[in-house]
Symmetry: C2
Subunit: 363 residues, 2 copies
Amino acid sequence: MNQLIIKPTLLLDEKKCRRNIRKVYNKAVNKSLIFRPHFKTHQSLEIGSWYKELGVNKITVSSLEMADYFSSQWNDITVAFPVNILEIELINSLAKRIQLNLMVESIEAAIFLMSHLQYNIGVFIKIDVGYKRVGIDPSNREEIDAIITLLESSDKIIFKGFLAHAGHTYDCRSKQEILRVHKKSVEILRNLKDQYQLRYPHIINSYGDTPSCSVAEDFEGIDEIRPGNFVFYDLAQVQIGSTDISNIAVAMVCPIVSINKHRNEIVIYGGGVHFSKDNLQDEVYGKIYGKVVNKNEIGWKDELTGAYLKKLSQEHGIVSMPEHLINDYSIGDTLVILPVHSCMTGNEMKSYLLEPNKEITRL
Amino acid sequence: MNQLIIKPTLLLDEKKCRRNIRKVYNKAVNKSLIFRPHFKTHQSLEIGSWYKELGVNKITVSSLEMADYFSSQWNDITVAFPVNILEIELINSLAKRIQLNLMVESIEAAIFLMSHLQYNIGVFIKIDVGYKRVGIDPSNREEIDAIITLLESSDKIIFKGFLAHAGHTYDCRSKQEILRVHKKSVEILRNLKDQYQLRYPHIINSYGDTPSCSVAEDFEGIDEIRPGNFVFYDLAQVQIGSTDISNIAVAMVCPIVSINKHRNEIVIYGGGVHFSKDNLQDEVYGKIYGKVVNKNEIGWKDELTGAYLKKLSQEHGIVSMPEHLINDYSIGDTLVILPVHSCMTGNEMKSYLLEPNKEITRL
């Protein structure tokens, strides 16, 4: 397939991707959890259909724009992002068409929704389980109570429960560390629901992040999971300890445009506008933007040891290539490179190549 | 204008932008330099037309895709990127329609072009003046001679001269440092041309980077300049010493979706997919992704001291807001933020808002 590629192209290994989906889906089913996958990673109706084939009928997104895009094929969507009240028109338009769930974490947002909603929606209260980005401190019962009272007083809002994202698992570097963060986060949500369930028996706990949902087995107190990145995984997830490099389902193919044998460097057509500038601190190589893998006829196989993407300009990427391998390459060849952060790389590339002449698009 | 904005939007201050263009244009005219601005920063036919109004008729781009986009209105385009031989079909298609100049830095690329070109093109030899990304070492006369001999033997190629990008000015942190890099880079090109001009009297030296072209006055030995970023500038250019913060011509407007008074943080709808993940090490704030500026009715004015973008997720941005200011803001307000790297932010946003209802697009 790679011979046909003449410019930076994002390959998607459909088999790995479907396997990743099935694995987390099975876990959810086995544990009787509602599976509401986050679609911000792939943002593709076609990939969404692979979830549909398994019977998934609820999804998560991180913007109203994404909700709008997916609303053509999905009618139960949670926007796991603090409600942007400036987009009330789109909120009402979506609420008219689908089961829309929003997330609030302030009295101001609750009041705004109460007075501007024209159609029914569900609302989750966002709880900060330790990531410290957004959400209410779980010990701040006064604010939680005040918001619930407001939500319950509205005839357009159904209070759905508590929602959290254990984003601090992204700082973990092993399964053990992930499980420690997971345990604490789940405990917080469980305690919270325990205290409110008597008054609001229908509420659920919605929880999600790829590291936790990939490695944890104990979800007691959780009703719904919302991981997203697992659909593709990436080098960052491998470093965190969520998965193995063999499960990464996307890779960039980039033409070689320059070779510098004195510096053991290969320059590719493929830069920050293709990979994004996300990077990670690799134990062996230092700061990297991707790792080179060996090609095969239909995609890629194992890591090409010692070869990594070390620098990015807007359109150029500089690959460090071991001295004993550099003579294997010429300009006009292509390199296949695993990305550090597949959500961001997908966003840059806007389409996925599955096989020759089979390209799928995204938002 | 800002009240109309309901989601992350890139504002363009047309007045500042045209002033930036005119300033470098005037410098080029005064020094009898060919002005071939790099259009990779703005990538917009409309902004291109502002250059046209001044009489500019030659441009630079960094991909064949960009050359193709601009070829509808520009017929003299240099692609300042090592030629991607896999795109030979597009090269021939462009060469048929416009005066196309490519850049080579290897014998392999020269041979490939010689045997595959169907129409005439100009070719520059890329010289590495110290940035160490791509280009031939200027002391490697053997390779330079070999490439020139090849180019000159082709009836489809005109050897145009030497091209360099002093990208290492981006590591500078003052005008003095920029001028030191500039002086050395220009000397290298001048010496090179001196040695080849007798044999090839028509050759020119093409040189460019925004820091040098913004602050240097001595361009002896240079015939053409190709800066690009100066059209917008950004916080990185202010840190390098190329310009003043008041000349930055683009800014992001982002809705406030969450306020955390305990942490003095404001969360905006505006993340890595809007700003890009480019950041800089600020002397006062540490790692930043942008600086907040005060709004006015039609755009923005001076810096809001102490307020900066300190972290980005995919869709979220976390702004550090001084304690004494945080009570001035509510969810549903917007913040205006200067980007670290305008080339990358423009690439994410894909359009510019000039005034209410006046939006211009780009590639």
